[in-house]
């Protein structure tokens, strides 16, 4: 199957969330939400530091849209239905069409934490990967010490497969281990 010919929905609705492909103009809200959660995100992620201005965020959103249309990467902006607020993202990345398999990444704005939004969005993104993209394996990688991310993976139904030693590039210090969760169909 030619990935370009796959009909991919550009939005998904769950009980409480609306998840959609980014578009021009989303940079502003994206910048505000990552800035608000900066300390919280920096504990585990490197990219928030790279998106340090509104312009860089706008650029990223437009790039993400083009990648989506090329069927290379599917970045969902996650919006709370009741308020339309941007509460985070779930990204279907490292798509390898030949297997086919992919990886999920997620983050939630600090003040919208503890509501189960990440789990809800991750489940929906996994279903999207299997049903809309035809993936056979969806994996989540995080650091063993990232208890929040591990809990999301487990609640979303992912199974812990392994801990990979020295797998993640160093952030202020030494290389890190990675814990791998997977779901297959």
């Amino acid at each position: 199957m030619e990935p370009l010919l796959l009909d991919v929905p550009e939005a998904i609705d769950t009980d409480r969330l609306h998840m959609r492909c980014p578009r021009a103009g989303d940079g502003e809200a994206f910048f505000d939400s990552i800035t608000e959660s900066a300390a919280h995100l920096r504990a585990w992620l490197v990219w928030p530091d790279e998106l340090s201005t509104r312009e860089l965020c706008e650029r990223k959103m437009r790039e993400r849209r083009a990648e989506w249309l090329r069927r290379e990467l599917f970045h969902f902006l996650v919006l709370e239905k009741s308020s339309s607020a941007l509460v985070g993202s779930v990204v279907v990345a490292h798509v390898e069409w030949k297997v086919p398999k992919c990886e999920l990444g997620y983050w939630i704005v600090e003040k919208y934490g503890q509501k189960g939004y990440a789990t809800e969005a991750t489940r929906a993104a996994a279903d999207f990967a299997f049903d809309a993209l035809g993936m056979r394996r969806v994996q989540i990688r995080c650091e063993p010490a990232n208890a929040w991310s591990r809990r999301v993976a487990e609640r979303a139904g992912f199974v812990c497969e392994a801990t990979l030693k020295n797998d993640i590039p160093p952030r202020d210090g030494d290389v890190r281990d990675a814990i791998v969760y997977a779901m297959t169909r």
């Binding site: 030619e2 370009l4 010919l5 437009r62 249309l69």
Partner: protein, 187 residues
């Protein structure tokens, strides 16, 4: 001054007197394929991409790739539709973009059953205006076969000036050598 193409705002809908211009999207394949099939004899004579008639799937892929290129600002194809009834007229775009100048090459085609109505002159004027006013163009080029009288008329009616006829500059869809009329408008 360097332009970051991704940050350039490009309108996703342009209206002229009789036409609506918009980027291609998933699902446009069948509409465009019908027009290509109707027009294949004309297209094959002049248009580089019309070497052979491609299947619907290929056309749909071209539309989807074009939507992605538009989002990435690497190539800006617009589909031309009649305002009146939405009928597909043809395609026209700003191609071979060099944002460092910025410079664009405009290309166009019109389905055979709607020739000789001035639609391409209308769309070419609109896209040239877009290039200069919204995209900061310093130069817009228009290449065509010297024997393609209809295309040259569109260029001239749209205010383009013939700068040169370049010898052995391209191949026709049938593989033979041909010269190219280099038309241009500058800011």
């Amino acid at each position: 001054m360097t332009i970051d193409p991704l940050l350039v705002d490009v309108p996703e809908r342009i209206e002229t007197e009789r036409l609506v211009l918009r980027p291609a999207r998933a699902g446009d394949g069948p509409m465009v394929q019908e027009a290509i099939e109707e027009s294949f004899a004309d297209l094959h004579e002049w248009v580089p991409w019309a070497k052979t008639l491609q299947p619907l799937e290929t056309t749909e892929m071209v539309m989807r790739r074009s939507a992605a290129n538009f989002a990435a600002r690497s190539d800006l194809l617009f589909l031309l539709l009649l305002k009146e009834n939405g009928r597909f007229v043809g395609g026209s775009g700003l191609h071979r973009i060099d944002w460092s100048v910025p410079r664009f090459e405009i290309g166009y085609w019109c389905r055979s059953s709607l020739h000789r109505r001035g639609y391409l002159t209308e769309s070419t004027r609109a896209l040239t205006k877009l290039a200069f006013d919204a995209l900061g163009a310093k130069r817009v080029e228009l290449h065509c076969d010297p024997h393609n009288v209809a295309s040259r008329r569109v260029a001239e009616k749209s205010g383009f000036v013939l700068e040169a006829i370049m010898k052995n500059h391209a191949r026709s869809p049938d593989g033979s050598m041909r010269d190219t009329c280099m038309y241009a408008r500058i800011e």
